[in-house]
Symmetry: C2
Subunit: 172 residues, 2 copies
């Protein structure tokens, strides 16, 4: 045992706390392997993960805790909102004049907005919105988002059917 990722251990382990230039922690191979295990099953026992990545149960537990504290990953239940009673979802493309980031922050503050990303292309921001019904969706897009000062225009894509939703990159 202790066969999988052992080779790079001593060389890499310090990296797990080093910071790259944008402030996000640099991850070594062992932490990536741990994340991958938890992407397959977020409730997998620490001991099983340890056996897979070549670490003791306590060490895995410590690393997982740190990854959670640092915000590198979160362990959560994910659902298809359509299954769970949120009948209207949409992706909204936003064009901004002025400070894009402050608009993105404003969108982030809205509870109906699940996902915000700044992009290059014909939209400055893409935001995913989850609502209970059409009225709610209309309200969020027209009254709240378009009302933000600096929002030049928006385009909406109402979801018809979610086909895929994965969190298992790495497992290729």
């Amino acid at each position: 045992m202790h066969s999988e990722v052992v080779a790079s251990r001593n060389a890499d382990q310090r990296d797990s706390s080093r910071e790259s230039r944008n402030g996000t922690p640099q991850l070594d191979a062992v932490s990536l392997a741990i994340i991958q295990q938890l992407q397959e099953d977020g409730r997998r026992p620490y001991a099983a993960i340890g056996k897979a990545v070549g670490l003791s149960e306590a060490a895995v537990r410590q690393r997982v805790q740190k990854l959670l504290d640092q915000g590198v990953m979160q362990i959560v239940a994910v659902t298809d909102p359509l299954t769970v009673g949120f009948r209207r979802q949409a992706m909204v493309g936003v064009n901004v004049e002025g400070d894009v980031e402050s608009i993105a922050d404003a969108l982030t503050a809205m509870s109906e907005v699940e996902y915000v990303v700044m992009t290059a292309g014909s939209f400055d921001i893409l935001a995913e919105i989850v609502c209970e019904d059409d009225d709610h969706l209309l309200d969020v897009i027209n009254k709240r988002i378009r009302a933000l000062p600096g929002v030049r225009s928006t385009e909406s894509f109402v979801y018809l059917k979610l086909k895929k939703q994965t969190y298992m990159w790495g497992t290729r």
Copy 2:
């Protein structure tokens, strides 16, 4: 104790196995409350969840197992791919002539594609792509997606910065 959601228990519990017309299971208030707990912390103990929703530990465990088996939810670690070494991500809007669903299936089959949704609006499909670098991204978009028969056109939005990623609707 046993105070939170008790009132609707006997009336609703059978619904947890009933099917709505599109084949997705109908969820009662207790299951929703359980999901909500696990959206806050995917590793929360069953006993703690039980206390919060007014059910025994064993009952919670049974329900969670069923929700997982039915595919209503999954408990997984989620990360910002940019933090974890995938340096290029993009949302791709696709326009299709002919059968949209078969194109969506083809996209779903690609391992680089994390997210596929069929939409109403100026795109038929939105797909999120996670790649290691520019070459990889270019390859996926130009060689693989545009090559699919029936794809009329695509538009790409390369991610610059992920601002928000939540799974806590319901917690409003």
